[in-house]
Symmetry: C2
Subunit: 303 residues, 2 copies
């Protein structure tokens, strides 16, 4: 296997499926996205869906395909057991699950054991590739990284290896609160993002007390007309993202935090971090392709 094989890079998540055909130097020749997350694929049908959507790319001579994300979960194409942290690129490469020898492999996710009394486990699938990609893009081998989303991840990397990470239900709690809770009645979700209210929520989240109580304030601030219905979604978002940051205690002189995600989400984390005096930089979807390309490159001397 050498670096000049074309790489078919696939990120197969819960709700979406993205792929890119990469050239030898990692440049994107073509990319595709489909609403064909693993939840839409019947058991036993993953190979057929893959060939339907990306089969033409696999005709390229010597094509290699690496697939990251939930396709490697128990509900996916085949279960690729998690790599236990600390883990770096070497461990990911060693634990690829080859679906077709030398041609198509699933990238395993990572697991880690928490430093609490219970050694509570945590898991990721797909983010590990983005992490290594973003590190490569930023030219660093040690960093704190954040991958915002439904289940936001905070990750500690040292000397190219993921030491620890933590998952926060921030995005899902925001959705539940605004769609299903009593707070929903107070919120106007149709307006533009209110940056001032967001920062006010971040400030509030740094105070003593509990987020379970601060959430109720979304209702009373509306009831007492202290914040408008249009401002409250931003305030709620600030409360929740601020709660993540509160638990991290990042020193303000630390190296920039690396954010990986959609522009809409990384913007919010940038605002919150800067407001708390913490530097950061952002990367988007390109981190996935860079990560998969780097993983393919390091397979050079492997069977």
């Amino acid at each position: 296997m050498n670096q000049e094989r074309p790489l078919i890079a696939i990120d197969w998540g819960t709700s979406s499926l993205r792929g890119a055909h990469l050239g030898a130097s990692g440049q994107v020749i073509e990319s595709r996205e489909f609403p064909r997350g693993i939840l839409t694929v019947a058991p036993g049908q993953f190979e057929a869906v893959f060939h339907e959507l990306f089969g033409d790319w696999m005709h390229a001579p010597g094509a290699l395909c690496l697939i990251s994300g939930m396709a490697g979960s128990r509900q996916g194409w085949q279960e690729a057991p998690y790599c236990l942290c600390p883990a770096g690129f070497a461990e990911l490469g060693q634990h690829l699950l080859w679906l077709q020898p030398h041609r198509i492999a699933l990238v395993p996710g990572l697991s880690c054991l928490g430093q609490d009394g219970l050694h509570t486990p945590d898991v990721m699938r797909g983010e590990e590739v983005q992490i290594f990609g973003a590190l490569q893009l930023s030219g660093r081998d040690s960093a704190t990284l954040v991958l915002p989303g439904t289940h936001s991840k905070w990750v500690q990397v040292h000397s190219g290896r993921v030491l620890q990470f933590q998952t926060f239900m921030t995005g899902e709690v925001f959705a539940l609160m605004s769609q299903h809770s009593i707070l929903g009645k107070s919120l106007d979700l149709t307006g533009a993002f209110d940056e001032a209210a967001f920062v006010q929520g971040v400030d509030q989240s740094q105070q003593a007390g509990s987020v379970l109580q601060r959430l109720f304030a979304v209702r009373t601030l509306g009831l007492f007309e202290r914040l408008s219905a249009a401002a409250l979604p931003g305030y709620l978002s600030g409360l929740l993202i601020g709660e993540e940051l509160r638990s991290q205690a990042i020193p303000s002189h630390a190296d920039p935090v690396i954010l990986i995600g959609s522009p809409a989400l990384t913007l919010r984390y940038t605002l919150a971090l800067q407001h708390l005096g913490i530097a950061c930089e952002s990367h988007g979807a390109e981190a996935t392709w860079t990560g998969l390309h780097a993983l393919a490159s390091q397979l050079t001397n492997k069977p």
Copy 2:
């Protein structure tokens, strides 16, 4: 008005309507409960519903009716403006909203301004009556009280006056997490309450970090088969109730905390508090009737 008038005590909440016909010494002569919370009553129909369900009691000579709860909210019979804390029985009595002079009155709720930078307001309706009732039942005029529920209240009372209180969305977050979130798939809600898992959740909640992260552990502890699906609801409940307690920092030598609520809920708080070395005592629905009776009694010399 004297203490020997029969009291029709009504607790008209969001989802239920309870009433008691009390004798001169406060004993319950008869009680009734209906699924006729304010959400089920059309605007303008409150008086008709009241007379349909409790009209016979009002025929007692000299009958006085006091109504607490959401019936005094903007969505209720008529809006009874909140009393601002610090407030005691005297303020509640002064701010009754008389629907029929000397016969039927709405008890106002309480509001307070938080000690945070924003002076975030908080509100209660109905709980104020239970608080004064429970204090009377326990023979105290100063205490920390907890009223668990969908929106759990922590209340500071000194010398018979409510100084401050805080609302936590604990019960609602438990319901949303178990019914609408990704955690729901991991939970078996049909089994008995798992006390050991609950205490494990309480322990976990006292550690550094954020509840947004600890919630995700409910999923991973299930995924790694560290807790059974039947144990996870108890663990989740312990995480959330423990989060409330974590934010309070009650010294273990403090006077007993007074719990007011259903036996199922006060049992959980008793377990959690005792596990953390904090004494407590519990009161149930009787606190409402005792509170309304005490409020009626102190009207003796009022018009």
